[in-house]
Symmetry: C2
Subunit: 255 residues, 2 copies
């Protein structure tokens, strides 16, 4: 299936653009939409709603945090199985043919032109929109700390994960360490620095692309998805994490 | 002067997009154009044609290298005094009020909205276009090494500079070291690694933004502008440097 003549383009969603917080929230795995021209990639309905297709609860939590912090939020319009926006276009897992235990039929035999078409339709519009938000804030002299919001599955490859709240850093660990310290002091969440995975697993692309070139503090948050499975749970988690992020931000400013 | 309602946007120039070289050439200081709505910023004609406004000879050299290497080239449409595309929008010298010994009247009292307007009109379109070229190559699986082309003035703050050919690296020094080694072995140019300045001077923004996030090898070339003052000199310099770049590329591939 050759799609490179398609002009389809999916813009990032931007909410609360004028939010006054220094925190700029990003949710790359917000959506489990499978729109044309790609469609469902041969996945079952169960797979389309499972963590393989998106980060369940992450957008709900991100929106609740956005409201409590008055923070801008940029989020993805399409499933990460069509294009994983937290991966560069050279990465095989940007359009994974297999993810955990799932085969992705619609990604099995992609041509270079198919990969280019998804890159131009999804990856570039998302990161161009996020870059515009970052650059606008820098031009206006607004303090900016990039925080990406993810969720992870409690069971992965058959193993139960004990950690509830992971904070991952790339080259600059200031914000991640501040968040873990505040979460350990102020909540009963089981926290992990660079858990359940780390930058060595290639999961910090958005931080590297959007924050590191400008020397902006940044962190990637990972919440175990059984803790944010309902809207009420997402609200409750945001009630716990918003003060943690505020206090972490204050620590950065003090340094 | 408030310009933020202006819709003006200046796209990057892209030449030889289908070039087959792994090298992707970039020339951020290619132009000494001072178009509306900004105009000449109160500069004299002499200043508008001097190195303060652009890198004289850099675009001529970049085009000659592009032809000899069959390499794509992305270059700037507007003077760096209106926006220096090798600087992020938070940097004062992105829109310098003073450069070397020159006052820039039109940059003296910029408001945050003025800075935002230039960022959106010049910085974002340029780096979005360059990012699109980088991402396209990555999606198609094309080897890519980013090489930026600059020139520097022989006399700076009254001091004569002896170096003729400087090669500057950021975090990844592979390509820069390979170029210096090949230039010292194969030419009689007076070469310098991280001369006449280095990443510590904040001059590697394009490399950090466009190459480092993808792990792409990269280097910034600086040629003393009295050596490329005419088209004939630029042709001659390209005759010397094209084989140097080819050999440096081959070294990278061997590693």
């Amino acid at each position: 299936m050759s799609l490179h003549s398609t002009q389809t383009e999916f813009a990032a969603h931007v909410e609360r653009r004028e939010g006054r917080s220094a925190i700029l929230l990003v949710c790359e795995h917000a959506s489990n939409a499978f729109p044309a021209p790609w469609g469902t990639l041969g996945l079952t309905e169960g797979q389309q709603s499972a963590h393989v297709a998106w980060d369940p609860g992450a957008l709900d939590l991100a929106r609740c945090l956005s409201a409590r912090l008055d923070a801008a939020l940029v989020h993805a319009p399409v499933s990460r199985l069509i294009y994983d926006l937290n991966r560069g276009p050279a990465r095989a897992d940007a359009m994974a043919a297999r993810s955990e235990v799932h085969e992705i039929p619609g990604n099995a035999d992609l041509t270079p032109q198919d990969r280019l078409q998804r890159t131009e339709a999804l990856y570039l519009p998302f990161h161009t929109a996020l870059h515009a938000e970052v650059a606008r804030r820098l031009a206006l002299g607004q303090a900016t700390v990039l925080v990406t919001i993810h969720s992870f599955t409690p069971i992965y490859h058959g193993q139960k994960r004990r950690v509830e709240f992971g904070v991952i850093h790339d080259a600059d660990d200031r914000m991640a360490r501040a968040i873990v310290a505040e979460a350990e002091a102020g909540t009963d969440l089981i926290c992990g620095l660079n858990a359940p995975y780390s930058a060595a697993d290639g999961v910090t692309h958005t931080l590297r692309l959007q924050a590191t070139p400008y020397g902006l503090a940044n962190a990637m948050l990972e919440i175990r998805n059984d803790l944010i499975a309902t809207q009420a749970q997402a609200e409750g988690m945001a009630d716990r994490l918003a003060p943690v992020l505020q206090a972490a931000l204050a620590r950065l400013t003090e340094d």
